[in-house]
Symmetry: C2
Subunit: 280 residues, 2 copies
């Protein structure tokens, strides 16, 4: 007896660039039969230097594109800046569940830490928002955040397994651990608070003090999304016939860089990235 063919669920993933493809990769690994639509608002990055109002407007436009034009039934905001500054605005603007990356990262840190003290490395914009510190504090953790502005350029240069990158990571972590010690903290957990950093995970794990756990907020967000998603859509998803993962990628500009670098983040070909105009 054949079961009826069910349209698989569509999950929308949004980032200001293409770093959020690490979140998409983590989602694909957990929901290989779903449909995914990813949009990178590359024409308007970086979000980090823009005002909250502007970021919210941009992020809402991308979210609406995913829901209205791509039929997304669930959204993951795979962008730390937009998660920090525009999650409420997106949730108000679309009629589907929306999940960011920061709360799941903080929850995973809470589950991992025994001392209650955690370190967070992220971009300058994310650190300035103190969104991870606030989310950690809400869970009873003390968090020390540090901006590591060289790590994104090093990943984008392709130096993910390069002695220079290892040295830069060593310098940053030495400074961060010294500051933690100066503040009397005893951190046992490090949160990777940037969607580019999972590509540096091997080098970072080699550089942290023995016993320190490394939390990847992309993985944590995917885990949280799956829990939320299965709670709502599991009956439909389970009836989906066996099929290949379907991924469509969109960008608002600079498709070339997205296509060139995106496969490294997604760990599979990104295929043709489609250019879309969101206006603005």
């Amino acid at each position: 007896m054949s079961s009826p063919l069910i349209t698989p669920p569509t999950i929308g993933v949004f980032d200001s660039g293409f770093g959020g493809l690490t979140v998409l990769r983590a989602l694909v690994a957990r929901l290989p039969r779903a449909r995914f639509a990813f949009i990178g608002d590359t024409a308007r990055l970086p979000y980090g230097s823009k005002s909250r109002r502007t970021i919210a407007r941009y992020a809402v436009e991308s979210a609406q594109f995913l829901v209205r034009k791509q039929g997304a039934e669930f959204l993951v905001i795979a962008c730390n800046t937009a998660s920090a500054l525009a999650l409420d605005a997106i949730q108000d603007a679309v009629p589907v569940p929306v999940l960011g990356v920061i709360e799941p990262g903080a929850s995973a840190a809470r589950a991992a830490s025994r001392t209650g003290d955690v370190l967070v490395i992220a971009t300058d914009a994310t650190v300035r928002s103190h969104a991870y510190a606030a989310a950690c504090q809400a869970r009873g953790l003390r968090a020390l955040e540090m901006a590591c502005p060289l790590l994104v350029p090093l990943v984008e240069e392709g130096w993910t397994n390069h002695p220079v990158t290892a040295e830069v990571i060593r310098i940053y972590l030495e400074e961060l651990n010294a500051e933690a010690a100066a503040q009397g903290l005893h951190p046992d957990t490090l949160v990777l608070g940037c969607t580019h950093y999972p590509l540096l995970r091997p080098l970072i794990e080699s550089a942290v003090p023995a016993g320190m756990k490394v939390i990847d907020s992309a993985e944590a967000a995917a885990e949280a999304a799956i829990r939320l998603f299965n709670g709502r859509a599991a009956p439909a998803a389970s009836r989906v016939v066996d099929r290949e993962t379907e991924i469509r990628c969109f960008a608002t500009d600079s498709v070339e860089k997205f296509e060139r670098l995106g496969s490294r983040f997604l760990e599979r070909p990104v295929g043709n990235v489609e250019l879309v105009d969101l206006g603005g």
Copy 2:
């Protein structure tokens, strides 16, 4: 007998960010009694990933601000991307002389090179425009360009005299010299085709092969501006009473980073950076 007090000339300097402050610094050193108005269109950077039409519109808005609102009688486009893609549009849009950074850099390379073969290091966007290669070719030079995407982040991290930066420069130049050799070139001149790179000049000069000349396009642009400026305005400028340099800096967003890093580029305090809204 006292000469009448003459309003000093106002020179407008434009960049998409604040790297162009190295051009302003070079101008101030040569015209210490002039007035300067600098605008960094920080809300809309980076220009490199945007279309020619968008870049031209943005650059024209900044140029008009300098001329109409700040009374600039002369403009220097201290931005490689805007110089490459929008110089004509700016010249059409404002009634004052306009000078970019690329042609002066190429002219200085022409004057310096004996072999006729030059190397150019710049950002990815500038290299993709091939503006330096074209300007060099127009002067009978063969130019090999290479993007060095890590150098701007290293400067902005403040690692201008850091072993990591020295190693990154060594790696880039080794690759560039190997490529030059493979192409049968005999370069004797290296053009710094990015307004951030003058801060790395000591490290770069230590890393180039013996005898290779280093051309700073910020210095070259300031030299060219002074020649052009003196040709037109010297009589007025010479009657200006002895006075302090007057510099006003404007930005369209993220004044904090501009103020924090700008002094390093200008080699003097940037003072209060005024926020302006150009619309768009």
